[in-house]
């Protein structure tokens, strides 16, 4: 009898299906911590709304939305992913705004055995592996590729490349010391500052700007627009700034 009630409890407990007041925000991996804080702040000013955060590489989120995933807001880490969303008819173009900017940095493990002080040092034979996001689906990988191509280093570095599924995986590989160096956003490096060292800020041909938009055809359009406005408000900016994001 006890076993049966335990089983019933297991089947019924835990988070249920999305309810009407759930606002699903699909945000780039680099926004993980900042948007968690933004979501909490939004919930306190908008009681009754529950912000559900869905984080992954921007292109993965875009694919989900384009294939009909019930997201309400899309925040990506570069314009390419948002442009793809526009092309796929996945977002309401009129709601597209840039809300933050970031910097690309080169990081190494804290107790690195190989000295890397600049991107040019990645050419050394002692540097065996360099982590960055897969340029085909991860914005930080696209920024990395463009920056290294500009410096004439892409051929040399990509031969040592370990492709990560999102920016936080690159960060994790460097923090564990499995790679000799990696490219992440400045805000990501801060998350693990006790395990990785930032050795250089890498100039990118295009500035790193984060766009946000309301998903086309969402049932929560008003709430989604209100969330997007909150992200761009003074309060939203302050929270983003506390995680190292700069104004767009």
């Amino acid at each position: 009898m006890q076993l049966r009630s335990l089983l019933a409890l297991c089947l019924l407990a835990g988070p249920g299906l999305a309810s009407a007041a759930d606002l699903t925000v699909s945000a780039a991996s680099s926004l993980t911590d900042a948007f968690r804080a933004v979501g909490t702040a939004y919930e306190t000013t908008h009681p009754g709304t529950h912000v559900v955060l869905n984080v992954a590489a921007s292109d993965v989120l875009l694919r989900q939305i384009a294939n009909g995933a019930p997201a309400d807001v899309f925040a990506s880490a570069d314009q390419t992913a948002m442009d793809k969303a526009v092309a796929a008819g996945a977002i309401d173009v009129a709601t597209r705004r840039d809300f933050a900017s970031n910097r690309l940095v080169l990081i190494v493990p804290k107790d690195a055995s190989v000295h890397v002080g600049s991107t040019a040092d990645l050419r050394q034979p002692a540097v065996k592996r360099v982590a960055y996001g897969d340029p085909a689906s991860v914005p930080v990988g696209r920024y990395t590729q463009a920056a290294l191509q500009q410096q004439g280093l892409w051929e040399a570095v990509s031969a040592k490349g370990v492709l990560a599924q999102n920016v936080r995986q690159s960060l994790d590989y460097v923090a564990r010391g499995e790679v000799d160096a990696g490219f992440v956003f400045a805000t990501d490096a801060t998350v693990m500052k006790d395990r990785v060292n930032v050795v250089a800020t890498v100039p990118t041909p295009r500035p790193i700007r984060y766009p946000i938009a309301v998903v086309a055809g969402t049932a929560h359009a008003a709430d989604a627009a209100s969330f997007s406005a909150f992200v761009q408000s003074a309060d939203g900016r302050r929270i983003l700034a506390s995680f190292g994001f700069q104004a767009p």
Binding site: A57, D59, L62, R63, D134, A136, S137, V162, A164, E178
Partner: protein
């Protein structure tokens, strides 16, 4: 088309190595356990079966923590100049681990089904223990072992979670078919994904048909 063959060749290489290792390891351990009389036997058996029920990500995490450059075993191997993370050998270890219980379970059941009287008769006729194993026990258990080995090959071929964690996603080096499909889907490259999915499906059907041909009754009965 060429893009699909490199991951396929790598997947086959990894799966064949993992199967070969499991054939030796799984049969040896299964034979040992089937003859071992101890209360600890069930515990050992449970631990060896764990890879079958644990999520591959859990196994991948264990492997990464153990074999990574800062892991207990990994740091020692690194001193010797051996790095397993982000190498195809790392993928072989992941595939071997997840497929091991399939060989082990099948082989143990097969050894336990061997009539002990036949082995005793061989001993009475003057055969040494090694000869009893290779000329009596092993041939009698061969059918069951073959079934397990074929399933292990299929499992190793499709391994994804633990492989991605320890071997990473290095095109041409550790990007197996499953990982390549995942990457193509994430990048929105449906054409490549569809091609590789088709290649995988055809390969698996071919393996099953081959299994049906090679393996006697026990596997044949598993065919639809």
């Amino acid at each position: 088309m060429g893009a699909a063959w490199i991951p396929l060749a790598l997947s086959l290489k990894v799966a064949l190595w993992a199967t070969a290792i499991n054939l030796v390891l799984g049969v040896a351990v299964a034979f040992g356990l089937s003859r071992w009389r101890s209360p600890a036997r069930d515990v050992v058996d449970a631990v060896l079966t764990l890879p079958l029920v644990l999520p591959p990500t859990v196994l991948g995490y264990y492997l990464l923590v153990l074999l990574g450059r800062r892991g207990r075993v990994g740091a020692w191997l690194h001193e010797l100049g051996v790095d397993l993370v982000f190498t195809w050998q790392g993928a072989v270890i992941a595939a071997t681990l997840v497929a091991f219980p399939l060989v082990h379970k099948a082989a143990r059941a097969a050894f336990e089904a061997v009539d002990p009287q036949l082995e005793s008769a061989a001993r009475v006729l003057g055969l040494r223990e090694a000869a009893v194993f290779f000329r009596v026990s092993l041939p009698l258990a061969a059918r069951g072992i073959t079934a397990g080995v074929l399933l292990a090959f299929a499992r190793a071929l499709g391994e994804f979670g633990a492989t991605l964690m320890i071997a990473g996603n290095l095109p041409g080096r550790t990007q197996t078919l499953s990982v390549a499909i995942y990457t193509a889907v994430q990048a929105g490259d449906d054409r490549s994904a569809a091609l590789m999915v088709a290649v995988t499906s055809v390969t698996c059907v071919a393996v099953l048909l081959l299994a049906g041909r090679l393996a006697p009754d026990p596997v044949r009965r598993m065919r639809p």
